[in-house]
Point group: C2
Chain length 263, copies 2
């Protein structure tokens, strides 16, 4: 199969609770640095953006639980995501001998987005991804430089935009699937997709489209997990090799305790 | 001469007063984007870091007029330099069709520094440059991606460090002189080096080592300009082709109203 001849690329998206906990983040960075081969890290800002908004007296409005990004909260997002969090991760990875480079979607024009159209509500400076320019990313990777993406894109006309980190990870995975055999790793605080969210030992190790439908029918999948699984199948449909969901330990070489999603 | 066969590279350092003024910054970005050939932009944070410290209640200590970088002021520097200022510049350059990539010294391990040793005073998280890794920078440049460096370096052990932007520009210029014929442009609010700092029409168009000595003897050079000229001659001694000092207009194609420094 032609598929097998593509070089392997791992894209790891690290969740907010890990970003917000320095000890967990260090553990993640150490394991990520040890992963062989080509790789990309994607992160949001965790609670640090909210904390910084608090310190600066910036009040984020919500609409049905979803954040509206005002000019002031965009400014905080740029400072925290692209500054504090991204550069701390890059410096941390360098210390673990991983030659990382921190990027937002404006850097190298890697991720173009357009401001979400105003419908029922104006979500403000939120970007929906239009295009991933894979060439500059592939160039970095092939020079053994590891891109670390924060959750910001740009519109090509000078405007930075806040974009969901899960979506950035899956769009990068889809875009890079042309040139690489991409595995997408959603790394967060739980062991993976659980039958019972309260019990860590109810891990579902494999999900495919058929079992996904059953799980949906049985209403087993929690609300927080729904968009992740939806994104995962979109990514798989678009050529991504596999998607894995689990905690930091899933990045270890012989790890088995996580959820693997395939078509 | 072998020198002439090296590709030309322009390194532009943009000063704090331009960074702090959105209209001036846009004008600078537009002109910089129009410059032909390989180029690099270097910037500090202007007054924005001080403003942000004010908003966050971070008090910077000074020692004989020089800032001491506490952990809190380093955090602000990372947010403002690498976040707000760097990414706004990158997004702005993209809008002018210049494919920029924002970097601090930790990105791609490009600029290694060590924390300044504690002597008479502890300057805190300030980095003195040890080494510029030119290879990843040259790779980006040759792929027609324009690096935009902020005034942060790292120590290779996970610590980001605050480093003077003028020094970053001159160390980049020196390091890249092996592979490029480098011109270093210090772009700030004045026309260049002036005989009389109060009178813009007293511009000194050419300075070489001989006239520099005379200017020093006549005590014509203002205190703010002294380190710039000292850095300039160090850079020239170390292989940089020429150093120019002037305002935004010096980046125009047929500009003549600025100071050129040569050996």
């Amino acid at each position: 199969m032609k598929e097998n001849r593509k070089p392997v690329l791992d894209i790891v998206k690290v969740g907010g609770q890990i970003i917000g906990d320095q000890a967990k983040l260090n553990a993640l960075l150490e394991r990520f640095a040890q992963m062989d081969g080509y790789k990309i890290l994607v992160h949001g800002g965790g609670k640090r953006a909210t904390e910084m908004e608090g310190k600066l007296g910036v009040v984020s409005k919500l609409y049905k639980g979803r954040r509206i990004t005002s000019d002031k909260s965009l400014e905080v997002a740029i400072m925290v995501y692209a500054g504090l969090v991204n550069k701390s991760i890059v410096a941390g990875l360098q210390a673990y001998n991983c030659n990382a480079i921190g990027l937002c979607g404006a850097d190298g024009d890697t991720i173009l987005a357009h401001k979400r159209p105003v419908g029922e509500v104006d979500f403000g400076f939120v970007g929906d991804i239009q295009k991933v320019n894979t060439e500059p990313i592939a160039q970095l990777i092939k020079n053994n430089i590891t891109p670390v993406f924060c959750a910001l894109t740009h519109d090509g006309a000078g405007q930075l935009l806040n974009t969901n980190a899960d979506t950035i990870a899956s769009e990068l995975a889809i875009g890079l699937s042309n040139a690489f055999q991409v595995s997408l790793w959603y790394c967060f605080e739980k062991k993976g997709v659980l039958h019972n969210i309260e019990e860590a030992d109810t891990l579902i190790r494999k999900i495919d489209k058929k079992s996904y439908k059953q799980l949906l029918e049985q209403q087993i999948i929690g609300e927080g997990m729904l968009p992740k699984l939806y994104n995962s199948f979109s990514a798989l449909d678009a050529g991504v090799h596999k998607v894995c969901i689990g905690d930091i330990s899933m990045l270890e070489k012989d790890a088995k305790e996580f959820t693997t999603i395939t078509l």
